[in-house]
């Protein structure tokens, strides 16, 4: 899975550089998030702006990351989803679980 990791203050930002988040790569995303949490990166922003398609396993990997972040006394927020990706969170009501920000900058500002 193509991704870039940036750090800003206490935050670790995962820029997902895949157009699709589906059953082919969601397992790897889940593992990458867990490894970051275990290595002490506990404040995570997932930048979804390059993702144009997400399926139920992609949503599941993010939910697993969210839960694991809580277990590690950290947090995981989402940033920059495209409109159709965002609508998948709404359809599954996972928008009630995640903090979803319009951009990484807004997520870092907590706006």
């Amino acid at each position: 899975m193509k991704l870039e990791i940036d750090k800003q203050n206490d935050w670790t930002i995962l820029h997902l550089l895949e157009p699709r988040l589906d059953a082919h790569n969601s397992g790897e995303l889940k593992d990458r998030i867990l490894k970051l949490l275990e290595s002490g990166d506990k404040q995570l922003v997932i930048d979804l702006s390059e993702v144009r398609f997400i399926d139920s396993s992609g949503l599941g990997a993010l939910l697993s990351g969210y839960k694991n972040a809580n277990l590690h006394h950290g947090s995981l927020v989402l940033a920059g989803p495209q409109s159709r990706v965002k609508s998948m969170f709404e359809l599954t009501r996972l928008n009630q679980v995640f903090d979803i920000y319009a951009s990484v900058a807004e997520a870092l500002a907590g706006e």
Partner: protein, 155 residues
């Protein structure tokens, strides 16, 4: 107009001139999800008779194909790369029909629970999405294999 009516020959549908039928078999590997999903998306963009938003329909077809295929690959075929998944897409004037075949043990569609928004878990949303986005969903079990049939009206 009898000429436009379908003629059934066994299980095969004779196409009328404006119908589209795609019948594709891919290895039982998740790397082919995007190939099949993208075919659904490309077909949706050609459906000028569809009344709604074609870009949204394109995403939804990509999604239901991806979900149905991933179910076949993972749950029915247990990631066995020696197996294959067959997908048929048929579009006539009135509706779009997607069939995804598997050779697994099969399951009872009615007994699949709806996800609980109060206690979200990280799996079990695939069939919920398919049922939400399509008009009719049916799963038929047979001794030579099973098929998930998903239909959407185009009018």
């Amino acid at each position: 107009m009898p000429a436009l009516r379908k003629r059934w020959l066994g299980n095969e549908v004779m196409n009328t001139p404006n119908d589209i039928q795609v019948d594709i078999v891919v290895p039982n590997q998740t790397r082919y999800l995007s190939l099949i999903g993208n075919i659904g998306e490309a077909i949706a963009k050609e459906l000028d008779r569809y009344q709604g938003d074609r870009e949204t329909l394109a995403y939804h077809l990509n999604l239901v194909l991806t979900e149905a295929m991933a179910n076949a690959i993972r749950h029915a075929h247990h990631d066995n790369s020696k197996k294959t998944v067959r997908v048929k897409i048929h579009i006539d004037h009135h509706q779009l029909c997607i069939e995804v075949y598997d050779q697994g043990q099969g399951f009872d569609l009615e007994s699949v629970p709806e996800p609980d928004p109060g206690a979200p878990v990280d799996h079990g949303r695939g069939l919920f999405l398919i049922r939400t986005l399509m008009d009719e969903v049916e799963y038929r079990r047979g001794k030579d294999g099973n098929v998930l049939i998903m239909k959407k009206k185009l009018g």
